[in-house]
Structures are given as structure tokens and as C-alpha cells.
Amino acid sequence: MGSARLYAAVTAGGFRRYATYRVATAAGVFTNTVFGLILVYAYLALWDERPHLGGYDQAQAVTYVWLGQALFATLAIQGGGFETELMERIRTGEVAVDLYRPADLQAWWLASDLGRALFQLLGRGVLPFVFGALFFPTALPHDPVIWLAFAVTIALAMVVSYGIRFLVALSGFWLMDGTGAVQVLMVTGMFFSGMALPLNAFPQPLGDIVTLLPWSALLQMPADVLMGRTDPLFAFAFQAGWAVVLLAVGRLVQGAATRRVVVQGG
């Protein structure tokens, strides 16, 4: 019970920390809206040429774009979240303090990152999405049950996203300099999550492969649940499966990594 309260406090702290930067949040909303606009027009031209590409109609393609903009910062799809900070702490050795805390490293940063993601969803995600829904034809469900299922997929996506970035951060124990790993995170996140193009619009067999990877749990699954193209139970199982695998691997790597830590005196 005590540890649940601790992690809840860490989550609240993560939320408040990002909530402090109001101007930066407003700037982020503006940027996501601008990029959403550009992408919407590009997608509309694409779907004009190939109606029902990937099984989406135009309204669904538009919805997909705005959902991507809403989740871009929330799920730190291109990185940008706790992982750069944790890598810096690993490089400088400050991670020793984290390990000394009466809390688990993985759970501590998960709690903090969930707080961040929650704020980004409310602060940066909702407004571009509402803008898109107001000014463009979108395909949104009326059934509250689907919205509820959608909320669950977002929460699961947050955990999967954390699982991926925790592994990237832990690579710092071996690589020390995180620049390369962060770049890989950017490329894979942008490409495999379907930020560039919905995964179901990828040419085959590439499309089938990327749909099986953990990144498809980030944007594609919530989008397909929202638009009623996937059975929610299947989406939950897929996302939860990847979450468990990633967290378990993270735990193993964390064990191996912490055995490596040598704290310098002084």
C-alpha cells in the first residue's frame, strides 16, 4: 500500500513538472496543429488517388492524422521524455542515487513517465485533435464503450512506449554516449509506429511485418480501435503482450546493468 502511494506521488510529480511550462505547451499545441494540417492535405491527396487505401476512407485517414498529432508527444514517439534524462544520469553516475532509493528503478521511471504522458495527452494532445475534428471530416464513434476501450488502448500504449524507451536508456550502461541510440529511437519510432504513413497503407509484405512489431501498439492499435476496425479485446491482448515482454526484458537488462555499476568515491 505504501509503495502504491509513493508511485502515485511520483506520477503526480511527473504531471506537475510538465504542467509548469505553459508557454512551451501552447507552442507544442500550435506545432502539432500545423503539422497535422500539412499531413491531412497530403493524405487527402493520397486517398483521392487511391480511395480506401489500407481499408480507410478519407474521413478515417484524416482521423488517423489528428490522432497521430495528439499522441506524438504523449507517447514520445520520436523520443523526448525520461530516457534522455536517465541516460544523462547513467553517464554522470547519478544513477547510483536512483538505485539507492527505496524504490525500484524501472517502476520509479515508469511512474514518472506516466505522469508526463498524462499531462502531454491533456495539454498537447486534446486541442489539436479537437481542432481537427471541428474543421475536417473525421470518423469518430458515438458509442461510449468504444471511447472507453480507446482510453484503455492509450494507457497500454503509454506502457509499451515506456518499455521501448527504458531499454534504449539502459543501453547507456554499455554505450555511455546515448546519441546513436536516441537516433535509432527516432527513426524506428517515426517509421514503425505509423507516424509517417498508417501501417495498413504500407506495401506488402512490409505492412504485415511492421504490424507485428511493438511500435504498432502505439498509434495503429488505438486508431483502429477508435475507428472500429479492430476488436478491442485483440488490441488489448496485443498491447499488453508487448508491454509484458518489454518490461520483462527491461527487468533482465536492468539486473545485468546494475551489476555493472561502479560508483566512484569522492
Binding site: 507552442a27 500545423v34 488517388e49
Partner: protein, 254 residues
């Protein structure tokens, strides 16, 4: 100094450039993916879109390399370290541009040039001397126009402080916008980036002459040769904005 410090770690530098090529190249991969499903986008073929893309990315790469550091200005205003630049006997803008000059940004330039090279070979265009000469003019003027946007964005940060993302919307957003044909976008948006923020003169308008395409918004023929004028006007406007911004700077006093 910043070049020498970067080149001190040669392997790391090469790796970051290669990584940068991958990251920036991804934009074009997205376009290739789209063309794996269709033959034309907004009425433009792949070589034509690649031409627009290459012009936009290369111009942007030039601007990003020379003055992309201006994006960091907000943090200097916030923590008051801009003071250091103000007391040095050199133009502040030049110092801001040279601050943490990042040679790794050549990645974008390389990637843009590669795509442009492919486009020039693949395009089905009767190259006249005028058209050939127009390409370097577009690149230089485009670079200047994007640089002006960077400077204006930096000036805005004197007021907004931690709103560097707004600047990104215009710089990176502008570059992304110009990668697609003008026919893709709504009339209002095209009007905005032609008459308000004249990004259309980076590639859309002059490229219409090269490609023999109808001009956006039905602009007259000579508009294709306007980029130098537009670039000069952008510089003047950005210079005024920069001065105004600099005057509002109040140090943190720390």
C-alpha cells in the same frame, strides 16, 4: 572552434552524420511509400515531387547549417547567458549563428542534394539554359528565405522565451509543406505561404517554370524569377524583427 571541437571525435562525427542522413532521409522514404501505392500525388509524378522535395530540403539544409543555432536563443534569453554575447565586439546575430555551430547538420544538406540529383536525372524536362540557371538561384534564395524565417523566429523568442516549438512549426513545418505539390493544399493555405509568409518562392513558384506546370494561384510568368527580390524583402523584414526583439531583451540580472 565548434567545427574543430566536433571533428576532434571523428568516428562519432561520421556516425552522427550517417544517423542524421537516416533521420532526414525518412521524410523521403515516407514519400516513396506513398508512391508505392499511387502513380501521381496531387497530379505530380514521383520525379516531380522529388524535385520539389530536393529543392526544399537543400535550401532548408543551407539555412539550418548557417543559422539553425538560432533555435537555441530562447534558452539563452531564459537563463540570461545572452549577456555574454552582447558585450562582445561582434554582431549578436553572427554570434548566435555561430553558437554551437553544428556541422552534423550537413546531413540534411547531403540528403537534400541526393534527392535533388535523382530528380534532375529522372525528370522528363527539356532543360533550357534558363531552367538550368534557375536551379542554383532557387537553392540560394530558398536558403536565404528560410534563414530569414529562422531569424524572425529567434526574434520572436525574445518575447515568448520558451516557445521554440512555434519557430519549429514555421521552419521544419515550412520545409515539410514545400515537399508536397501546391495542388495538394487548400487555396487559403497556398495564399498564406505565397503572400504572407512567402515560402512558395523557395520552390513552388520557380519550380513551376522548370516543370512547365501551371503557377500556383495563377501568378504571372515573371513570378518564377522573383525569388531574389522575395529573399531580399524577407531579409529586410527579418532584420527589423531582430532589432525590435533585441531591444526588448531584459537580462535576468543573474
Amino acid at each position: 572552434m565548434w567545427i574543430r571541437s566536433t571533428l576532434a571525435y571523428r568516428v562519432s562525427f561520421v556516425l552522427t552524420v550517417v544517423g542524421g542522413l537516416l533521420v532526414t532521409g525518412l521524410d523521403f522514404v515516407a514519400i516513396l511509400l506513398m508512391f508505392s501505392q499511387v502513380d501521381v500525388l496531387g497530379g505530380y509524378t514521383l520525379p516531380e515531387v522529388a524535385f520539389l522535395y530536393g529543392l526544399s530540403a537543400t535550401s532548408f539544409g543551407l539555412a539550418d547549417l548557417s543559422i539553425g543555432s538560432a533555435g537555441r536563443l530562447g534558452s539563452r534569453v531564459r537563463d540570461g547567458t545572452l549577456d555574454t554575447l552582447l558585450v562582445r565586439p561582434a554582431p549578436v546575430l553572427a554570434q548566435v549563428a555561430a553558437d554551437r555551430f553544428a556541422l552534423r547538420r550537413v546531413a540534411r544538406l547531403i540528403q537534400g542534394t541526393l534527392v535533388l540529383g535523382y530528380a534532375c536525372v529522372a525528370l522528363d524536362v527539356a532543360w533550357t539554359p534558363v531552367k538550368v540557371a534557375l536551379v542554383p538561384v532557387m537553392l540560394v534564395c530558398g536558403g536565404v528565405i528560410f534563414s530569414a524565417v529562422f531569424v524572425a523566429g529567434a526574434a520572436f523568442q525574445f518575447v515568448a522565451q520558451d516557445a521554440s516549438e512555434v519557430q519549429a512549426a514555421f521552419t521544419y513545418g515550412g520545409q515539410t509543406l514545400l515537399q508536397y505539390p501546391p495542388t495538394v493544399f487548400g487555396k487559403e493555405l497556398v495564399r498564406g505561404v505565397t503572400f504572407v509568409l512567402p515560402l512558395a518562392f523557395v520552390n513552388w513558384v520557380p519550380a513551376a517554370h522548370v516543370l512547365g506546370r501551371p503557377y500556383p494561384l495563377g501568378l504571372p510568368e515573371w513570378a518564377a524569377f522573383a525569388p531574389p527580390l522575395v529573399a531580399a524583402a524577407c531579409c529586410a523584414a527579418a532584420g527589423l524583427a531582430w532589432r525590435a526583439g533585441l531591444r526588448t531583451y531584459r537580462s535576468t540580472g543573474s
